[in-house]
């Protein structure tokens, strides 16, 4: 049933948006290369499956580990920069991996690679059952939202948010914002890697497009639509973006001519995105 497929995709991308919101919304770190973690997670699953390793118990930890490692190394370098330079350097790391996947001739390169068997979990759950898979993704989304919420309320989250508004003051207080930021970045990267694992299982297919900078741009838009710095915001933003895309493309194949100016207007008049709109109307 097509709706189930759509909702599953929304849930998976919402996980990615939630992870991006943690560093972008709360931490003010604008990454234009976040989709790289979708790719790292997805390609790990795809490559291992290609070699006959289908067990989720093997694939998923490796995928998450690689995502975390990549986030640690690139984050350590990127977080030495700020603002637009951070944007560009996260972009460049993502592009490097993008071109790496394009260059992997053995794993399809630009043509991509079909995954013939989804991750198996020794019979605990059958991911090729669409309904079961949806519930798994939904459960993971709930868990991620919970994690982000707890973190944002904790000392860790307070530091991150304070560092966004006034980094110098935090440093004057003797807090090494760099270490906090790096930790946040690694957590966000790992979470997005998990989204990538789910995405690969969902589409039964991996290709470099998963990592392209336009994908990263889509994620930023979903976060912005939902409102920065709120826990539920990114979920709302993802729902809005994907539903809008699906609905508009049903009406006309030229839907982007409506979406485009809509985004422009959002940029001109937004104050907190959808979550902001909701609280604004409540304030009234």
């Amino acid at each position: 049933m097509f709706l189930l497929t759509l909702f599953t995709r929304i849930v998976i991308l919402a996980i990615a948006a939630v992870s991006l919101n943690f560093i972008l919304g709360y931490g003010g770190m604008i990454s234009l290369g976040h989709a790289v973690y979708l790719g790292i997670g997805g390609y790990t699953v795809g490559i291992l499956a290609h070699h006959g390793i289908n067990s989720g118990f093997v694939q998923w930890p490796i995928a998450l580990g690689l995502s975390a490692l990549f986030a640690l190394v690139t984050g350590a370098l990127s977080l030495r920069t700020r603002g637009v330079y951070f944007l560009m350097i996260t972009l460049s790391f993502a592009q490097m991996v993008y071109f790496l996947t394009v260059g992997l001739d053995k794993y399809g390169g630009d043509d991509g690679l079909t995954i013939y068997k989804r991750s198996t979990f020794a019979g605990l759950v059958d991911l090729s059952d669409k309904v079961a898979f949806y519930y798994v993704c939904f459960a993971i989304l709930l868990a991620c939202v919970l994690i982000v919420w707890r973190m944002s309320q904790s000392h860790f989250g307070v530091v991150i948010r304070a560092a966004k508004s006034n980094d110098r003051r935090m440093q004057a207080l003797g807090i090494s914002t760099y270490r906090y930021r790096l930790a946040a970045y690694v957590i966000a990267g790992t979470m997005c890697g998990l989204a990538g694992v789910l995405l690969a299982n969902h589409t039964d297919f991996i290709n470099p497009e998963m990592l392209s900078w336009t994908r990263s741009g889509d994620l930023i838009i979903m976060v912005l639509l939902g409102g920065l710095g709120t826990v539920i915001g990114p979920v709302g933003g993802t729902v809005a973006y994907l539903v809008l895309e699906e609905a508009l493309s049903g009406i006309t194949e030229h839907w982007q001519i409506v979406l485009g100016p809509f985004l422009v207007l959002m940029a001109l008049y937004r104050r907190g995105g959808i979550a902001g709109l909701l609280s604004w109307s409540r304030r009234d």
């Binding site: 560009m88 053995k106 422009v264 959002m266 940029a267």
Partner: protein
């Protein structure tokens, strides 16, 4: 050796196309602190204009010449309608708005010109080849691109270094508030800069069109490289954009040309051919990342530092 020189010329040609695009981008970013993702759309629209006007007027030269003021007009209108309202906003809003503009322009182009794209055929006097190196006929058109690129670089250099408006541009890149405080009409300056940037982007699109054909979304790929160029060159510096375009353009072309042979020693031919362009592209991003970590201001940073 001759082959290397020929590849070098190919690289130079690509570098100058990149420069045309990067020059506008770096000025807009440097003066107005505006992240313009829609710069690639201006490139695309320029190409579409040229293809259409050439068809209507049945003349390549007239079509090309008419496309430039048309693109300038579009740039000015865009600036006044949309861009101007975003200067005071943060970069994130720039990204959101210009991303929306990309979608809009792509779809508008599809509606106006159809989904299949257009071709811009060369007139016969440009389809000949000239023997620039002994025994090496090189397409005259590509030499034209090199010539135009160098000419524009020269004009821009003169403009920025030796005229009043150039002085305002350099000052604005270094300290925006001061320039405003000195009583200069900032709005007009910004509109002019954006318009010139749009014109340069359109020129790049026009020059590229006969080789690469005109299609929806043609600006996206080259835009990313243009961003790499302005970061390496130093945001706000036309000189930097020039130096960096040469580095990036020549590296990409020469890398694509020679890397397969080196790789064939370790990989199969299809593997080498797949890996080579990927590696040379990766290298360019590696270069940018290194610059960002070691020397984020770029090769020719704007004096007075950026905030």
């Amino acid at each position: 050796m001759i082959l290397f020189l020929e590849q070098f010329l190919n690289g130079l040609q690509f570098a100058l196309l990149l420069f045309l695009l990067a020059a506008g981008l770096t000025l807009i970013f440097g003066i107005m602190d505006f992240v313009n993702l829609a710069h690639g759309s201006l490139y695309m629209v320029g190409a579409y204009f040229a293809a259409t006007f050439t068809r209507w007027l049945n003349s390549f030269v007239l079509g090309v010449l008419l496309a430039l003021p048309a693109a300038l007009l579009l740039g000015v209108v865009l600036e006044m309608l949309v861009i101007r309202r975003l200067y005071s906003r943060e970069h994130l809003d720039h990204v959101l708005a210009t991303f929306g503009l990309i979608l809009f322009f792509n779809e508008a182009a599809r509606l106006v010109w159809g989904a299949a794209g257009l071709t811009l055929p060369l007139p016969s006097f440009l389809s000949v080849f000239l023997e620039v190196l002994p025994g090496v006929p090189y397409p005259a058109y590509r030499l034209t691109i090199i010539g135009v690129g160098l000419l524009v670089a020269g004009v821009l250099y003169y403009l920025v270094q030796h005229t009043r408006i150039g002085m305002l541009i350099r000052a604005g890149a270094a300290n925006r508030e001061m320039v405003g405080a000195l009583g200069v009409n900032i709005n007009r300056l910004y509109t002019i800069v954006f318009g010139v940037g749009a014109c340069l982007a359109a020129l790049a699109g026009v020059m590229a069109a006969p080789i690469l054909t005109v299609q929806i979304g043609m600006g996206e790929n080259i835009l990313i490289l243009a961003f790499v160029v302005i970061v390496i060159g130093g945001i706000g510096s036309v000189r930097g954009a020039f130096a960096a375009s040469i580095i990036v353009g020549v590296t990409d072309t020469v890398g694509r040309a020679y890397l397969p042979e080196i790789l064939r020693l370790i990989l199969s031919p299809t593997g080498a051919s797949t890996a080579a362009p990927a590696l040379s592209a990766m290298f360019i991003y590696l270069l940018m990342a290194s610059f960002l970590v070691v020397r984020p201001e770029g090769l020719f940073p704007a004096p007075g530092g950026r905030k």
